[in-house]
Amino acid sequence: MTTQATTQLPAVAVKSHRKPISWGSIFTFIILGFGAVLMIAPFLWIIQAAFGDTTEVFKLPPRWLPANPSLENFEDVFNQVPYHLFLFNSLKLAIIVTIGQLITCSLAAYAFARLEFPGRNVLFVLLLSALMIPGQVTIVPLFILVRQLGLYNTHAALILPALVNPFGVFLLRQYFVTLPTELEDAARVDGANVFTIYWRIILPLSGPVLTTLAILTFVGMWNSYFFPLIMINSPELQVITVGLTLLRGQYGVGALGPIAAALTMAIVPVLLVFVFLQKYIIKSIVSTGLKT
């Protein structure tokens, strides 16, 4: 009712009707702003330390800009450990597992969504029951198995188990069943086989959900620590997460500079990707509830 009245008043009067900034919104802004500072400041501190003078960075009061900016710390990192290999291995594993999972999950999901075969529901429920089994519970037998298969200290030990993702199958299956069947029926009448339908019709229609799965898998694999810690022994095969702890082990806890440089190299690529793809990333993770 009031809005109707104000719209008929001249512009000046509308302005005077505007509520003054309330104490509530000032309070909101202060709390949220303080929270944001707490979230951002540690990253800024680490980045300044990465570019700072090794002897100066870990002093009080905390610095927020490097005193004598240099790249010395970054050079130190590469002299100490094969950090470029850690980065390369992490990237390689994340890409292989992401592509692999998109294939294995979408094939299984399509079968469960559209094809008829005996045991379909039982097998689907069986597969989903695996969601109740946390990976850390089966780590001991898995480690023994990996050793028996001769895969200990190889990237295959990290790739092969990661290609099974019951959650991924579930996610894609739920999406596939919502797709209209008309296109598939038409293709079938034209004599297309199942694989052609899956490849030419279903996958091209499933961009959003495939992107979601790709983001979840990539982030999860890039950040994984427990499995590489156990399955990989040689430094040159190691990934970035374990690599960071190796580096810390070599320097001890006092050496902020080089470790900050390593952290910066691990975090900044993630930050850049995150800034560009934040909408997709947030949506993917929040809607599915990935626990990294």
Binding site: T28, F29, I31, G35, A36, M39, W45, I46, F58, L60, P62, I103, T104, L107, F112, L115, E116, R120, L123, L127, A130, M132, P134, Q136, V137, T138, I139, V140, P141, L142, F143, I144, L145, P161, L163, V164, P166, V194, F195, W222, N223, Y225, F226, I230, T241, L244, T245, V253, L256, I259, A260, A266, I267, V270, F274, I281, I282, I285, V286, G289
Partner: protein
């Protein structure tokens, strides 16, 4: 006519084989890497096996050791305390911040807050834990420095059994709270605005609206968050391993850290499997209880 039926059946059969071929990669992996190890963990728990000498069958000795192990009670106590504190902090802080973010503000500002709260969630737990070891440094860490302005004495965050569990909790909440904020915010934005308008007409205060509309209708969101975070929090590993390595004493030793140490430090595969089975059983029971309880307090719009 009969010819047509034959081809139809032939088509069905072909579809069946294609279907099995499609699920084959997933099911081979499922059997080898999930079902197999799950069943094998019961078998391994009956053996004494250090990987160097052949496994020796010892019956239920590992289970006997489990019941005699005093530390396991301590470790589970620590795990539950940490999990409970972490979930409580994440849920309440996450809800509080989401309520504030749900208020009227420019979308640029809201997006800035969302992104800055959420970013640590996508960074690896290892990187976050290492950052916090520096922040927690007793003499040179920024945390104690700024707390000093509030008159707080320097706290030995990582070397005291009183403070080290809090160090783990704070680092974990800092990393994960953004996830809770955004899930809660999503839940709130799904609640129909008409309900609030109706309540306003009836003269309900902001608090009443929150208590009587927002909270009950967020209960499915809360169920989802508790189920996922209880399972996650019971498996907490990276933060305590990197920040304190379980110490001092057993103050931050969680159950997965304990499994890891028995399995991959002492190479006692049998006993590590036995402990892992207890964790599996506990997670199953807790999940079942949560779904039971949820029938009583979850409301759907």
């Amino acid at each position: 006519m009969s010819e047509k039926i034959m081809t139809y059946q032939g088509m069905k059969r072909r579809e069946m084989f294609t279907a099995y071929a499609f699920i084959l990669p997933t099911f081979i992996g499922f059997l080898i890497f999930i079902v197999g190890p799950m069943l094998a963990s019961f078998v391994v728990s009956l053996f004494d096996w250090n990987l160097l000498t052949p496994p020796k069958f010892i019956g239920l000795d590992n289970y006997q050791q489990l019941f005699a192990d005093r530390r396991i009670g301590t470790v589970y106590g620590t795990t539950f305390k940490l999990a409970f504190t972490i979930i409580t902090c994440n849920m309440s802080l996450g809800l509080g911040l989401a309520v504030l973010l749900d208020r009227k503000m420019s979308s640029v500002l809201r997006n800035f807050f969302k992104v800055s709260y959420f970013f640590p969630y996508v960074v690896s737990g290892v990187a976050i834990a290492i950052i916090w070891t520096f922040l927690y440094n007793r003499d040179l860490g920024p945390l104690n420095y700024y707390l000093g302005f509030l008159g707080v004495e320097r706290i030995p965050w990582l070397n005291s059994s009183t403070y080290s569990p809090w160090a783990v909790v704070i680092a974990d909440v800092w990393k994960n709270v953004g996830f809770y904020v955004l899930v809660f915010l999503g839940g709130m934005q799904a609640i129909s605005r008409e309900l609030y308008e109706a309540a306003e007409v009836d003269g309900a205060t902001a608090w009443q609206q929150f208590r009587r509309i927002t909270l009950p209708l967020l209960s499915p969101t809360m169920l989802f968050l508790t189920v996922t975070s209880v399972i996650g929090a019971l498996q907490i590993f990276e933060q305590p391993q990197i920040l304190t390595n379980g110490g001092p004493g057993d103050a931050t030793r969680t159950i997965v850290l304990y499994i890891y140490e028995h399995g991959f430090r002492f190479f006692d595969m049998g006993y590590a499997s036995t402990i892992a089975i207890t964790l599996f059983v506990i997670i199953l029971i807790l999940t079942a209880i949560q779904f039971r309880l949820s029938r009583r307090w979850v409301f759907y719009q």
